[in-house]
Subunit: 321 residues, 4 copies
């Protein structure tokens, strides 16, 4: 099988696994009091050039929901794009963790919210970076949204992919552009299961900490979660993995009629049903994406997708059409 | 440091780490549709001699809360021991996942509920195996509680330690004794972070599945959680680890004046403050346990605790008293 | 002041107040075990020609939220019109009582959902009768929506106004058209504060009863709530009040350029700001209604609005334009 | 029937009903913007000699739960007596409104908490005045509890009965003794259905207001709720009603062997089953109270209970024993 279904059908980078093995030695304080977690916090402070607080979690769903619960009261409203993962794919996780806040969904081209379309009487705004349409927000676009004056959450499941496309710093793409809490994704980009809630405003951290614990997301052997993030941020593993994935996506984009701009590692095209079937029969795996119209298909390139995988697909498509 | 603080200050068994490395190869269906997860389900059906459903989770807190949420409505009542982890240590996780059910705490010697002390008008009962006092319920004791006719949840964070002490089968200690949902612990006994909700009544599984997802506990790369459990159950790793821990606990018990029966891997003693301080100064680590009275101290033996560790402690105590 | 702000700025019908005074005599079983509540249940069974269960509540917000909580799990979705009261005006009451279900809002002309616009993978549907745009659903329109096969809730804050406009029976407009739970409004139409959750499917009643109690909506002196409903349904008070209100609305409609069809007791028009100001200066009270566009204004006629009130407004508007 | 079952089996004082009839005239701003509600706020500021904020609600359950939700986070703990109404009779209303806070119940003679029995690491304390055992807290006893430094909620369902027994001022019995929020009961003492959340610390009011609305407790025709409270506080109706009820209770206490001190309007005795049956056969109604031991019975005197009612019971008991 050549698998373009999702970044999370891929395994994990060897560096991540080696880090886990190293982390297994000896005893350490549990629940996050260990030295690896402390080093990750320090490393993030350097990377983001800001006195951040961090909460390691296992899933993006947990990270997003915990972040949002710090930014809206139960009777508040969260603005998000109508295709946002928090709206479509999390079975009400934000509503659960916020105790019933409302997601107010907004339409927007290429998966992006635009400042001018947003009401001002909400509790907070959630953006996805890179978006569910495979596009990215520039720092200027984020700043325009932040200028509304509402707290901003960034679902950064593909933050690395967005960053390497934009060639800006982690600080430029977050707090300097008005982001208050980032859910910094590791899982989709080479980690085993590791996301980091990065909090740029200290008072929000106080609202996350108890929810993190009672939500069952505070690992007793936290070292194993933190170790993944330490490896992820060492020797630019996160950037290298993302660059590779993005490059393969560009390779695909050059050979296909894309229906959304390709700015990260996800490519949207239309395949006639006949072509889709034939490709699947040849061993290619991918998901249909009906919200982008008839015959729309999503092709995700991950850190584990090779140029050869892309070329095989391109050749097959060429042959079939 | 010689560390008796908790089973979760220890790392992970090499078999677990090797399994993770093996599991990292290739792409697999995400969110639990992979073959490793399927094998774990099968393996559990053999082990428990029952057509169980399983939900892998990362923490015992999540496992317990999700299990309880399938067994009580929001206006219901959960009976548990006054020292239960779900009451004392989870910051309201059961209340969060059940949307506000009440824990009704009951006193009971040696950390155990007794059937005759329990009201009958509750929604369900929660027992801990081994208990927070380091004791175990026999199948007969469980059956007596189950005879009340209420659904029963077992917090099995130390299930393996209880089982090897009792020398009975996994089925005898669960559904045959009236348990409806077991949270089968791996983390404290050699896994990295892996607990398994084992459901013996199918209709409860339907109530767990959506909560598992919206609670943010359904890993996208589920294979990495399931692989831990597969290794845990292979070649009796779980039993070997538990036997080792229990044996060290017995070694300690033979040399100390214990204040609770030692039936698993946890030992409670009293150390005069002078002795505690001296031991700490020599590099021994352990927690005070004030709910068991003045000077009470908890000593936890884990899969990684050696006979030499125990002997060093015994010698130091002897010297100091 | 001549007050067109809302039906709830008006007081209560004398018959309602007399019924309260009668109900005050003697002692009665509390919490709904009294004979007046029993008579209301019987009266509703006759009126709706169905073996209904009823729950008296004090506010429509409570009634709607309790009804919806019986029709969707916490992870479910409720379909409603984008202008629905449950979405715009209840500060998240449905989300609170359902423990976090999602309202999925649908656009639709004249405040109405149309069957063909509705997704089928939701938990339930909520319609408002009469709608927030002052229009009414016919039994046929409701049946078309019910044909989707989802449970249906009717927010009947102005149920009486809808019914007298349609000249059909209470049964035709509810369960025969596919409605499973009606929140039968009394407050806006002459009661002091009285709404009745009318349940047409018994199993939903079991899900409402405990939420009704723990939400704090089960009055100890229930007789005072039930007595209002008994008077409301006696000698057609509810129909007489609604007919009067609707007739005044038609009187207004004949003299103004309405921007929505007038099918109940609410009239929407546009008044230039100059006209609005002048009318207010002359003592007319009404609310702007910006979601219906610039200069839109809502005029509500209630049981207490007289023909003279309408004529005074019409004369003033004529003079000013 | 001569009814000693509860204060809420009685109707309402004529002054309350007259006030409702007066309040029905004309139109008023809805949702609490009316002048009657404003006058009640002012009247409470005089009565409590403090700049209070007030929220009228229909039930004590709602009042208590809303008050507690302003005083504890979802992961917090509320200390209360093991017999407290919030623990035993509200089907989890506090857990629902607080989103899952824990009630930690404490034993205590005569239904009262004592300062020395209370842990200090809770979120807030709830006391009932008069208690469920028919006793009252003195201002000194309250002050001792308040000295722990935790916010204090007072369930004042029978506040009037407590106050007239103690002969102190409303201020002395609330904020001067450390109470932060009082749920000031009207229903049990002559109102139809009216409780007032009286908030002595402004910041708590901000946390109550949105919950009050989304809980469905903010009446549109608020005037009808406020009018009851206005009448209740006019010409000392509340004190006159409570004095009458307490006096009848004392009359009973003088003729019976009470098993709890009678300090308000509730009397506890033991009646042999034979006596209970005979009394019921003669038309006396009362509830058994098994948590106070075998044959325990509760006799509640209300504003509507006469000396003749008490004398009839005393004569019957005398005759039967």
């Amino acid at each position: 099988v050549i698998d373009f279904r999702s970044d999370n059908t891929h395994g994990a980078s060897p560096e991540i696994l080696e880090a886990l093995t190293r982390a297994a030695a000896g005893t350490m304080t549990s629940y996050g009091g260990d030295e690896i977690t402390a080093r990750v916090r320090e490393r993030c402070r350097e990377l983001f050039e800001h006195d951040v607080e961090v909460f390691p979690v296992l899933t993006g769903t947990a990270g997003n929901a915990l972040a949002l619960a710090s930014m809206t009261p139960p009777w508040g409203t969260v603005l998000c794009h109508e295709d946002a993962h928090i709206q479509r794919d999390e079975l009400g996780a934000p509503e659960f963790y916020t105790h019933g806040a409302k997601l107010l969904t907004i339409a927007g081209e290429d998966g992006k919210l635009r400042a001018e379309d947003l009401p001002r009487d909400a509790s907070c705004i959630s953006v996805t970076q890179a978006t569910e349409a495979g596009t990215v927000y520039t720092p200027d676009e984020l700043r325009a949204i932040a200028a509304l004056g509402l707290p901003m959450h960034m679902d950064g499941a593909r933050f690395a992919n967005a960053l390497v496309g934009l060639e800006c710093s982690a600080a430029d793409l977050t707090w300097r552009a008005g982001v208050d809490v980032l859910v910094f994704g590791g899982t989709k980009n080479g980690a085993m299961a590791a996301e980091l809630i990065v909090v740029f405003r200290k008072e929000l951290a106080d609202a996350i900490a108890p929810r993190w614990h009672r939500g069952g997301h505070r690992l007793s052997k936290m070292r194993f979660l933190s170790a993944q993030f330490e490896a992820y941020l060492t020797d630019d593993l996160w950037l290298r993995n993302a660059r590779r994935a993005n490059a393969v996506a560009q390779r695909l984009a050059r050979g296909l009629d894309v229906i959304r701009p390709v700015q990260a590692n996800v490519v949207f095209v239309r395949f006639e049903p006949r072509v889709s079937s034939a490709l699947r029969a040849e061993g290619f795996a991918f998901h249909e994406w009906p919200i982008f119209g008839p015959d729309a298909v999503r092709l995700v390139c991950a850190f584990g997708t090779s140029d050869a995988d892309a070329d095989a697909l391109l050749a097959a498509v060429k042959r079939l059409t």
